[in-house]
Symmetry: C2
Subunit: 541 residues, 2 copies
């Protein structure tokens, strides 16, 4: 067979040749911008050529700080197409982390959306490798900035040859992109994508049993292009000639609902919080969402009420994808099998709330205290993943060893796998309670607790225990009307029929509030520290 490398530039070339008239629609406060794939290809070639003239060479990192729009899409193809590496930067990083990732990746050039200049200006003096700032904005709309040297994107394009030819002598294992993921402690960790991994991952998005992304689709990528390549949607959509709708910074639910309605969006992807906000908007005002054939969510579990509302009330099929920065990201999708399609809605929603089946090309397994777990939907183990679009290390980072062992990615997610092969996340390894050689899921206990009418919120953490090693303790905040009215025994009685006996928390600690991170997640580390003082490890229950 021909030794043809799996590269990114032929994806764009296919769109240019076969789908030149299909459109990329991008939103900004100035309104909608429409351009064809023919124009997108021409502009990407201009950008690649101009970056080369600016001194960007094969292997150099080019950073982007940008929303989802047509210019960012052009960079998605121009930068890897010319052999350089697209480093998409999370625009919500702290100044400290922002400085770190740009310096650590050694970005040579930064492409910055005009609206995000202040973020870069704040750290510019700390940046050690950046030789030019390219400001992405409409011409005639050039902002003042303290950055230096500054080049305006549209002027830069004019320096580039629209007939530039993407090199085809790249190695498919050459780096094509990179993305940093936040670490539990310390600085973000970088993941490097290759041409091969992007090619294979993009194909997987087109499979009928994953998303079935098609030329006939109109794809609205709500998930940011700085977040794991917007789940790979911009690459796959371009390759397949899919119409793309890129919302720019316009992420308000009313704007998204309007876009879905006016552009007849068929497929969209984003985190649950976006869709919960959309549901609220749909309650407020009526929109025509009949074009939607698939609403993809991922990045966090979604409440059952969200799935039910979309499927039942609005007739929008939902699909959960699971993955992480290290996995490009698609690992599993919650697609039901043919013989499950006739199950009652509630059962189907329960299945769709699981993370789902591994897509073709990847292997998954889970390892618990006793080795590889049975696929019985009960035994718990840490999810391990292997495959050609799974990272094998962090970029120049000593912390790689923890996650990458024996050829598998150790995800840190504790899961069950049912006899159908459906993966379900039970916990994060660090939040898991290891009791007497068995594992207890803090997430399951929290969900059970929060179903109690008096409970406002609940977090379950492990406390050390001499005999059992660890035991669960539940921290519960009661709703205002119930404070002081509910006893520990009442809560335990409520849990008893729902969980195994040895899962019952040793203690229910009532609190006025739970410590939380800046994004609203429970700060379990702080809880564990608080509780350690109260529970001595040598108690025997």
């Amino acid at each position: 067979m021909m030794n043809v490398p799996l590269l990114i530039s032929p994806m764009l070339e296919r769109a240019e040749r076969i789908f030149p008239k299909k459109e990329v629609i991008s939103c900004s406060p100035a309104g909608l911008h429409r351009q064809t794939y023919a124009e997108t290809g021409k502009r990407a070639r201009q950008l690649a050529d101009a970056l080369g003239k600016l001194g960007v060479k094969k292997g150099d990192r080019v950073g982007t700080l940008a929303w989802n729009d047509h210019r960012h899409l052009e960079a998605y193809f121009a930068v890897p197409g010319m052999g350089a590496v697209l480093h998409t930067i999370n625009l919500r990083l702290s100044p400290e982390h922002l400085t770190y990732v740009i310096n650590h990746a050694e970005d040579r050039v930064l492409l910055v959306d005009a609206s995000l200049l202040p973020i870069v200006e704040a750290v510019a003096s700390q940046l050690k490798t950046v030789q030019a700032f390219i400001v992405m904005t409409n011409s005639g709309d050039l902002p003042d900035t303290s950055l230096n040297p500054v080049i305006f994107y549209e002027e830069l394009l004019e320096e580039g040859d629209p007939a530039y030819v993407f090199p085809k002598d790249l190695d498919e294992n050459d780096p094509a992109g990179m993305c940093y993921t936040s670490a539990t402690t310390g600085m973000p960790k970088g993941v490097v994508y290759t041409h091969r991994s992007v090619f294979l991952h993009s194909l997987s998005l087109g499979l009928a049993d994953t998303m079935g992304l098609s030329e006939a689709d109109v794809c609205l990528s709500v998930v940011p292009m700085f977040h794991v390549n917007a789940w790979g949607l911009p690459f796959a959509a371009t390759w397949f000639g899919t119409t793309q709708v890129l919302p720019g910074p316009m992420l308000k639910p009313d704007v998204l609902a309007e876009l879905i309605q006016s552009e007849r969006v068929t497929v969209t992807g984003g985190v649950p919080t976006i869709w919960i906000a959309l549901l609220k908007e749909l309650e407020r005002k009526s929109y025509d969402l009949s074009s939607l054939r698939l609403l993809l969510f991922g990045g966090a579990p979604a409440p059952a009420s969200m799935l039910r509302a979309f499927e039942e009330k609005y007739g929008v099929p939902v699909l959960q994808g699971y993955g992480m920065t290290e996995t490009s990201p698609l690992v599993t999708v919650s697609r039901l099998k043919s013989y499950q399609q006739d199950l009652p809605l509630e059962e189907r929603l329960t299945m769709k709330a699981k993370q789902g089946l591994a897509v073709p090309g990847l292997e998954v397994k889970a390892v618990g205290p006793g080795g590889e777990i049975a696929w019985d939907g009960k035994e718990m183990g840490e999810l391990l993943i292997r495959g050609p679009w799974i990272a094998d290390s962090y970029y120049k980072d000593d912390r790689s060893q923890e996650a990458f062992q024996d050829g598998w990615l150790h995800t840190g997610d504790v899961v069950t796998i049912d006899p159908e092969g459906m993966v379900k996340i039970a916990d994060r390894t660090k939040d898991l309670i290891k009791s007497g050689g068995e594992w207890i899921s803090s997430v399951d206990l929290e969900n059970a607790l929060m179903a109690h009418e008096a409970v406002y919120e609940a977090a379950v953490v492990a406390v050390p225990h001499e005999k059992w090693q660890e035991r669960p303790v539940a921290c519960v905040v009661l709703k205002d009307g119930f404070k002081g009215q509910v006893s520990k025994e009442e809560i335990l009685d409520f849990l008893r029929p729902q969980v195994a006996k040895w899962w019952l928390p040793d203690e229910i600690v009532f609190m006025d509030e739970l410590p939380k991170t800046s994004v609203g997640k429970f700060l379990k580390r702080a809880l564990r520290e608080q509780l350690q003082e109260r529970f001595s490890p040598d108690r025997l229950t």
Copy 2:
């Protein structure tokens, strides 16, 4: 990214783990045989282990002479899974060619369907490398044979360990399979498939815009498993957990119609002659084909009447695939773009009669006398293909140079490409007429001629010409009632409004019959020789 090779065995492993209950249904004169993917996996492992014990080593060729059935499917995974090479042999080869391909491939073992033993027995004394014949049949159903040594498949399996583990340290570029294709002159030419090429080709069959093969499908592979891996369907269907229906030797249209009806087949693939016969059967008797969502055809152009009948009369969407043994085979599919779906039926059928759009991952272009042709639907050129599942040579064959040049496969098919990127075959290069630096399609002229009410059949060939190099001459057989009633001028007048003036044949030669090959194709070489005597090259018209 992880250096995980793209291999075949994980496809089967996915079916075993995630779709253990899904079925493979195979037909024989004895009736339907059903087995699950769990059983298929177990038996494939037994076969692999037993072949190893028999002395088959990595890289050894294992030949199969078999119909489409569950045992052949087991070999599809066992042989490449263990690192050996699956050589699927066309059971319709002449004894001379059969002997050649087995000796040329150096098959070490032959798996032979019991019904095909006479074919092998006839050449057995000529075979130089075969060390064992494994007869595929039900136990208790063991035929007499002169072959030696003979092992019965079901007994062989008992020697194999069902817990055999497929090696994962293969190189993705290792050979996995091979298939010989007939040559214009001389012996068949061998094409070697690799694990990588099968992996990538299989993914392409799952794309929504190609076949969209899915777990929910019931796939009837009518195209033989000895013919380019049944277009790759058995690999992809297993990987995706698709229910498979394998018709064995039962290829009569009534049996196929019954199967589609009883097994609720959703997708099927085969050559046009099969579907034309099926249409005839549908005229005769009523069947419920409502489960069919896709009827794939390829291998030869189909008459417009066939497409119309399936789409209009039976509501079965048809899709043409184009490819060849050298291309794994999928290169293009005649899938319409979203904005073409609302065109009138006739226009859609005209498009579906074209070979279609290149699938993601491949590049196509066409080269004519003036270099790469314009995509205008008019200019003609030889189709060239490049990609990771396209062969780069014939196996140990001096004839490779002709077809493989400058990194492209030269298909020998002359095509036009329209502005939408739709490839349409105009001719074979060898049948093309090269007149004054321009190309004339013999196929187009023949189609135009055969639309005349008096014409029974027509073949157009090139005759040498001093000024124009070549000119077309039409050989026409008139229908019985019209013999002697139609003049050359009448035929030319009929053609005149349909073709360019310089395309008009120099001569219409009326004949009683046209020379044909054993499979009914016009023997143009013989025609050219006949005509050469009549037309001197130095004539000037």
